[in-house]
Amino acid sequence: MTGQVLYSQLFYGGSGIILVLLGLWSFLVHAPLLRKLIAINLMGAGVFHMLVAIAYRGIDTSPDPVPHALVLTGIVVAVSATALALAFGKRLDQDDD
């Protein structure tokens, strides 16, 4: 593994960690459901970003497909959870009206 690749992995992985922290912070301090969901999605994006980063093996080398598959699965799971949570929120709103 070249230094360049290592650098990219660390750089992108590190920004993934920052995204996770941002998301976590937002999840903890914001009450509205939609904000919490954005926060969770942001955290997810951060984790996925880390995985994509460690899959990266250089601009002209095939990346590691395993983390890619994990991320793809994760994206679908995330959208499922988001949709379900929003339906919960909608139901609560309807009950309020």
């Binding site: 460690i54 959870a81 919960f88």
Partner: protein, 480 residues
């Protein structure tokens, strides 16, 4: 041609879920059939582990590290058997409990949840476990909201969000593990792992996420409202199985993945939180005004006992004593699963008959339902930890080991919990004695009362008098 019960236990409920999704009007028949077949295949897994040892299936034929494997050792087989017995009882009960409209929503989600449970107990791949956790969390939250009351929806939304946060923490740990060791299979990770910041952080993230899902104090706040407001069969599944699955996974990771990096500080932290859960959960259960809320707080307390096992496990050197301790913890978890499910199912009956579940006004309903009241009593015996329940044996062994280690304060905590549990259980049972003479028929509605009663009986007599088979089962790959 071959039939492999491992993937069957996970896919049969999926196919069942398909069947009940496409024919929502007639969900009960196919649903019960799927339940029966699923339980049969899962129990056959346990039987096979019992007689032949550890079972493993390489899905897709690739083998690790590339493919995903399912594996049943003694530990998974034990939890699998308990979960499927409970799930089958819940299914039978639900067949009588849910009416047309809610039945069509219940069955597919329930089978998906069951699939997730079996998948979780059999999984060996860290990421696959993440998927099963999410399937479990989503279907559990949706089921919990089936009563449709505002409290139920709000509580289960919170449960969903907390679960998502927990999964996210777990997934972050998985990412870290993959980054560091390049594999996802539990066995391979265990070979590669070595003490150091990576392993500690990964452990903190994964187990931290799981204790959020297992509702360990002080992360228990979401549990009581979610479990208390769900429909009774769902409460039973949530309290008996879903939180137990998170505990199972924490235990599994603790034993199999992070064994080389364990330290006393982490174990003591978990144990202390467990102790706080025991006292706080029991206290709140005692103060609860509603039967189902009581049962839910009792779950918080009971999960606490399980986590007290961690410091004891760490302090006990490998050998016979540690094996016995591990088996005792498993026995405690299994008994609680059976008993708590029985309690919720019986509570559901009482609630249906009385039209409410306020403990102070239960009198007539409890006396008119001897079988349900007996189920509550039997489950209560197991929850308190009185003989002849499995809990009694488990607590005896845990406490004896604690005393041998000189860690007497765990004994104090557990005895406080036991006395509080006796207080809250008998607070309910005392309502069953009423001056009004009621027509005494032991069983009034077999389909709903018998499952509860049977679960109580297994918890109290089955596991209390014949716990020995558990040791035989755990010999298969879980001791060591």
């Amino acid at each position: 041609m071959m039939i492999d019960a491992l993937p069957l236990s996970v896919t049969l409920p999926l196919i069942g879920a398909f069947a009940v999704t496409v024919s929502p009007g007639h969900a009960r028949g196919p649903g019960l059939l799927a339940a029966l077949l699923t339980a049969a295949s899962a129990l056959s897994v346990t039987a096979a582990v019992w007689s032949d040892g550890v079972l493993r299936a390489d899905l897709g034929g690739w083998g690790v590290p590339l493919g995903i494997a399912l594996e049943a050792d003694g530990l998974s087989a034990a939890f699998l058997a308990m979960a499927n017995v409970v799930a089958l009882a819940i299914s039978v009960y639900a067949g009588g409990y849910f009416k047309q409209e809610s039945a069509r929503h219940f069955w597919p989600l329930w089978l998906l949840l069951w699939s997730a449970l079996n998948g979780l107990f059999l999984a060996t791949d860290l990421f696959n476990l993440y998927v099963t956790l999410e399937l479990l969390g989503l279907s559990a939250a949706a089921l919990g909201a089936l009563t449709g009351t505002r409290e139920a929806v709000a509580a289960n939304l919170r449960y969903l969000l907390v679960g998502l946060l927990g999964s996210m923490s777990y997934l972050l740990g998985v990412a870290l593990v993959y980054a560091a060791y390049g594999v996802l299979d539990i066995g391979l990770v265990a070979e590669a792992i070595e003490p150091g910041p990576i392993a500690w952080t990964a452990m903190a993230l994964m187990i931290g996420g799981l204790i959020l899902k297992a509702a360990l104090f002080p992360m228990h706040f979401w549990l009581p409202p979610a479990h208390a407001n769900a429909p009774a069969p769902v409460s039973a599944a949530l309290s008996a199985l879903v939180v137990k699955a998170a505990f199972y996974l924490a235990l599994r990771l603790w034993l199999d993945v992070f064994a080389p990096v364990l330290n006393e500080a982490a174990a003591n932290l978990l144990g202390t939180l467990g102790a706080a859960a025991v006292v706080w959960g029991s206290w709140r259960a005692l103060r609860a005004e509603r039967l189902k809320l009581l049962a839910a707080y009792s779950t918080v307390a009971q999960m606490g006992y399980l986590f007290i096992a961690f410091p004891l496990l760490v302090a006990t050197p490998p050998g016979l004593a540690r094996d016995n301790l591990l088996a005792a913890v498993v026995l405690l978890a299994l008994t609680h699963g059976l008993a708590k499910a029985g309690l919720f199912l019986a509570a559901g009956m009482v609630q249906k008959t009385a039209g409410h579940d306020r403990i102070d006004d239960l009198g007539g309903a409890a006396q008119a339902l001897p079988a349900a009241t007996f189920a509550i009593g039997l489950a209560g015996v197991a929850l308190i930890g009185l003989p002849p329940s499995g809990t009694f044996l488990a607590k005896w062994m845990m406490l004896e080991q604690a005393m041998i280690l000189g860690l007497w304060w765990w004994l104090v905590v557990m005895m406080i919990g036991t006395l509080l549990a006796a207080a809250y259980i008998f607070r309910v049972l005392s309502r069953a004695f009423n001056r009004e003479p009621t027509p005494y028929r032991f069983v009034n509605d077999a389909r709903t009362e018998l499952p509860a009663l049977l679960l109580g009986l297994i918890a109290t007599f089955g596991l209390g008098i014949a716990a020995q088979p558990l040791w035989v089962l755990l010999e298969q790959g879980a001791f060591g």
